[in-house]
Amino acid sequence: MYLVYILMAIGLFFAFAGTVGVLRMPDAYCRMQSSTNIATLGTLGALLGAFLYAIYLKNTGMAIKILFIAVFIIVTNPVAGHAICKAAYKRGVKAEKLTCDDYGRDFPNE
């Protein structure tokens, strides 16, 4: 039982950190980095907590579904992140003080 609470607390913490990151980070790319933070541990924690609780209730169907929701979120989110990042770059969104920019060197924006 305590494990469930701990997991949920972890999830909340990371979701909170991610939210703060999205709100605070200087440019769009760094915000994306932070948003993956939300998507991974922020959700995983809470979903695993719910999963354990569902097992504790002996509700197997529910537990399996929760697990697969977690899997789907984890699998879909990077695809979206990748697509949006690429789109941002193609769109010419300004990035703050890039240390190095291999991509811009190889694919100059016309």
């Binding site: 990151g21 994306m32 932070s34 933070n37 579904k65 990077p78 990748h82 990042c85 690429k86 240390t99």
Partner: protein, 172 residues
């Protein structure tokens, strides 16, 4: 190697049927039979998309085991990276040092490439922007929140860690 039609449909069918069972989660005969019919239809429709090279990749037990192990290792990596980024986001001075680096990789197959790319994207702090091919070698372009190494190979090791080897064990 071109996958044979029957094998690809069969593996897609099993994949679909698994999901049907998960969605319904009631084991009456009606549900199971309907699910079989539906999965067969879906398998015939989508097998040409779903199967890329090898029709029975996951039926190889070693690969399957690797996949399961990979999940745990990946979770470890995830934990580390998450803590790191959370620290950065919450610290008052926002210590970021972003950049886009080009990283070579050894993975060849489509599923493997995108799996590794997704794993990289999922670990906070890095996002794959593009996969390209130069001289029969694949490269990732990765946006990295804290560029500590500008050299390609070293940066690649810092980012990919041990993940690449695991991915290569699952896919080609």
């Amino acid at each position: 190697m071109k996958p044979s039609k029957f094998n690809s449909i069969l593996s897609t069918f099993i994949f679909c049927y698994l999901f049907w069972i998960i969605f319904t989660w009631t084991f009456t005969s009606q549900e199971l039979i309907t699910g079989a019919i539906v999965s067969l239809l879906v398998a015939i429709l989508t097998s040409r998309f779903f199967i890329h090279e090898d029709a029975n990749y996951l039926f190889n037990p070693a690969r399957f085991l690797n996949l399961v192990l990979y999940i745990f290792i990946f979770l470890m990596e995830l934990w580390k990276a998450n803590v790191d980024v959370a620290k950065r986001a919450l610290s008052p001075s926002l210590p970021v040092n972003p950049g886009i680096v080009k990283v070579p990789t050894e993975v060849k197959s489509e599923y493997g490439l995108s799996m590794l790319a997704n794993s990289i994207t999922l670990t906070p702090g890095t996002i794959t922007m593009e996969i390209t091919e130069e001289d029969n070698k694949n490269y990732y372009y990765i946006h990295w929140i804290d560029v500590s190494e500008k050299d390609r190979t070293k940066a690649g090791e810092a980012i990919k860690g041990t993940l690449e080897n695991w991915v290569r064990r699952i896919w080609k």
